[in-house]
Subunit: 112 residues, 2 copies
């Protein structure tokens, strides 16, 4: 499994996100992946390399044709990390809620 640094670095570029979105619909040849992007092939291949290092894609070669595939477990790793932060945040809001409710109840008791 790639580390979180390289997983999130993989997402920090529009070309790389477009490649992930394309591969989410199924495997594709490098030439097909490169076609929509207005850049030299070596530059595009660097983006694929970053995605491979980040654990987002894998590829194999049959003759002269290289085909890329998405590794969906990496989406899960990224979602898991974000979900953990969301839990911390929501836990904080829950505690704040309890605190404010207690404060409100104490206010009512004072009035009574």
């Amino acid at each position: 499994m790639a580390n979180l640094d390289s997983i999130f670095h993989g997402l920090a570029d529009p070309t790389r996100r477009a490649v992930i979105a394309r591969l989410a619909t199924g495997p594709a040849r490098v030439s097909e992946l490169a076609a929509p992007h207005d850049m030299a092939l070596p530059s595009f291949l660097k983006h694929l390399k970053v995605l491979e290092t980040g654990g987002w894609i894998e590829s194999d070669k049959a003759g002269r044709i290289r085909t890329c595939r998405l590794k969906p477990e990496t989406t899960k790793a990224a979602e898991d990390w974000l979900g953990q932060q969301r839990s911390l945040w929501e836990g904080r809001l829950d505690r704040l809620d309890v605190f404010l409710n207690n404060l409100y109840d104490e206010g009512k008791n004072d009035e009574a």
Copy 2:
């Protein structure tokens, strides 16, 4: 709202992810955020700047004390993008499932 490039760039570093995880539990002063990290303050402030650009945090100053807060809507933007890729991927698996079931049914009809 920050763009996805800077949102995901914000996450591509362990110090920055640690700051987000800390702020998910509540606001904190810059000095408190910096304390666990073994780096010079200017380097740490650069990380905070990247998080601010990425829409992850905001801060305000009272006297000489700067306090940082998490902007939870940015977690949602990152999760939304990942969720879209997951939907594409799961849609693909569903279509594959239908295709394989049809193939199986055709095979049974051929046998009958």
